[in-house]
């Protein structure tokens, strides 16, 4: 289910800040990205790597998805990051500066080697590539489809605007094109699209507007650097009442069909096929996470 779990909020936490790492279990985000890359200056790379490793060792009851943003593999830290982190079993690697399918495949091969050597299922570790240069935007679909480990594409606006040679604006025209490209590539590949961080922590209304915009475009989540933004993003991604009602009807129709022993399901004369069921389940999962429905969705419903 890795591909469809809710990732409305993917919170970056600097790997070199113990005071923040200690609070990771308490944040109500869907995923956490422990950062060894941009948040950590060169002098502290080793310390951060050790700290993140020890933090993961001590965090026994993980209640959210854990990613580690390693340094790019073509830097002197990237491979050491992987060696230190993989034994602590993160769910996935946030892969920065992934510009081509080949780069994704290089990480894929490295993860596969580790999995094989340690008796893990091949494909155990996921990859979330950062699409954060003009080149990577143009290669987005090829990257998205390069390996099954990739469950989403994550847009990184800061590096993108730098590589494009434009300034980042509040109005967002500068990001319009890459946002469209990335969400189309992700959706065409059947994976999630995660939007870039919104950096003005004081402006919750602008954050809400931006999140609502990317939700309408087809994004399923957003990265963030400040936990204060979690609630606003969750509210923006919360399904509307009529979406929840419809999803519950779909699930109920399936249940009745299973009970009646029929494989063909219809709702108000329309056939209910697998993608509709999947979407309904996703809707209910997020609704439950948001406290909008009282019981978790029975995911077995898909299998009858």
């Amino acid at each position: 289910m890795k591909d469809s779990q809710p990732r409305r909020t993917m919170l970056y936490v600097p790997g070199n800040m113990p005071s923040m790492l200690q609070n990771v279990p308490l944040f109500k985000c869907d995923s956490v990205i422990l950062d060894l890359e941009d948040a950590v200056n060169h002098a502290e790379k080793d310390a951060a790597r050790n700290l993140v490793r020890r933090f993961l060792q001590s965090w026994k009851e993980r209640d959210k998805e854990v990613l580690v943003r390693i340094n790019p593999l073509n830097t002197k830290w990237g491979h050491d990051d992987l060696r230190a982190i993989l034994p602590e079993m993160p769910d996935a690697i946030r892969f920065p500066m992934c510009e081509t399918a080949e780069m994704a495949l290089e990480l894929d091969a490295e993860l596969a080697r580790y999995e094989a050597a340690n008796g893990l299922e091949i494909g155990h570790f996921g990859i979330l590539p950062s699409i954060e240069t003009v080149k990577s935007v143009l290669n987005a679909y090829a990257i998205a489809t390069s390996t099954k480990r990739i469950f989403g594409l994550a847009f990184g606006a800061e590096d993108y605007t730098a590589s494009m040679g434009v300034a980042r604006t509040n109005s967002g025209e500068d990001l319009m094109h890459p946002r469209m490209m990335i969400v189309m590539a992700a959706r065409a590949a059947g994976i999630q699209a995660i939007d870039t961080v919104f950096s003005d922590v004081s402006d919750m209304e602008a954050l809400r507007r931006e999140t609502e915009l990317v939700k309408r475009l087809g994004y399923t989540g957003k990265c963030l650097v400040n936990p204060r933004q979690i609630d606003v993003i969750h509210e923006a991604f919360a399904p509307r009442r009529e979406e929840i009602d419809h999803a519950q009807e779909v699930v109920e129709a399936i249940r009745q069909a299973h009970a009646a022993g029929t494989g063909v399901v219809s709702l108000r004369g329309k056939m209910v096929d697998a993608p509709i069921v999947k979407r309904a389940i996703n809707t209910l999962r997020i609704a439950y996470a948001q406290g909008l429905v009282d019981t978790p969705v029975d995911e077995e419903i898909l299998n009858g």
């Binding site: 200690q22 936990p227 204060r228």
Partner: protein
Amino acid sequence: MAKNSLGREIPETFNGKSYIPYRDPHSIKPETFHFQRASRVLKRNYSGASKVAGGLREAIIASGLKNGMTISTHHHLRNGDRLLNDVVREIDALGLRDIRIASSSVHIVHAELIPYIRKGVITALECGVNGPIGEQISRGELECPIVVRSHGGRARSVISGEVPIDVAFLAAPYCDEYGNFNGFYGPSACGSLGYALVDAQYARKVVAVTDNLVPYPALPISVAQNIVDIVATVGSLGDPKKIVSSTTQLTKDPMGLLIAKYAAAVIDASGYLKNGFSFQTGTGGISLAVAGHVRDMMRDRKIKGSFGCGGITGFFVDMLDEGLFEGLFDVQCFDLKAVESIGRNRKHQEMSAGLYANPFNMGAVVNRLDCAILSATEIDVNFNVNVNTESSGLLLHNTGGHCDVAKGAKVSIIVCPSIRGRLPMVRDEVTTITTPGETVGVVVTERGIAVNDHLPELKAELIRRRAPVKDIRQLRDEIYAVTGAPRPVEFTDKVVGLIEYLDGTIIDTVRTVRA
């Protein structure tokens, strides 16, 4: 030494007086004590002449203050107050010794008193203290017996005559020559004079000290001419800008905001958040963030509350002005916006400490509170709360209204980060018990919510809403897993202070820390 019901060793006598060990929050009656009511001698003043005696020195002389007597001041100017320091300086200059201070509170600014304590001018504190005086006393570096009382407990002790105040020096920011005054206007305006109102009624001599003598009559009246003996004029009462403690801003700390969100969820689940809701928070970034959530919920649901209470901030003033409350009960103004409001809005009601929280009367305002947010320096697994000492063992904080409000409110909610400076705040035992656990409803930390057994329905409702409800011992275990179990602070046997419960019994002691 006798053990009180919470297992704390209490001396039978302290500084020459005998005390009753704490039993429980309810059973002590006024009849338990031999003092029933402070009475002032009847006086007759034929004259309509001005009561202005001159400056502070002349007023002290006129008051008849003698060695061994007790004086008081109010702390409405908080850390901006200079009156207490000035009065003690004049007392010393007049050669008086062995004076007890029974002010409503003593702040960091009053560290200036330390030399006068060493010199024997001041020999006892019948009130709690904030800052260096308490620190030095608990280090054994300063000798001065201290009895810490809550706001309600202090009002009780003054009204009952347990602590007879010989002369009250009351800062009077807007005052006329015949002794009428209020705190609403003038260069040292501090708003409500809630604590002073008790002293004005029960002290044997009342001196109104003003830096703003206005033509008669000084209206509206908070303290009236018929109970004021002397008026003194000074250049300045202090700096009202320092009324504001640094903590009247909403927190931005993500953990603090998480605590606030959980506390708001507790209020929401309590069932009291409906028309007629009454609420108190203190200052502090977390408390105010809770108030922010409460305001938003009241707005969204079109709830008209009954009253907001306690020390009042601009935040509550905005809620009143917006129509979210019928009124405010204000025992002290925490910022200048509150000061400005109380001077113009009759629904912003000045409230005496006796009305606020004295347990020995026909009903204090805290009895009408639905939900209250309170803080803590430590909490133990029996929900006992410490606000007086820190985990270092040093006496650094006064009680404020903590135990009064915890006892009065239907749901008292303690908000506290689970860890401060690597130390666990939910522990096996607190260093000092200020507020007994049986009067505490809920403890909220960023790691979860612990609900006391006397609120089973609230607990069930929070669980139903999927709030992170945990047994308080589980909460302690989770915190200890990060911090380790704290090594207890080592104390000597020397009792240097008493922590009085609101009913006059002794709930705990302060001992000097072993160096």
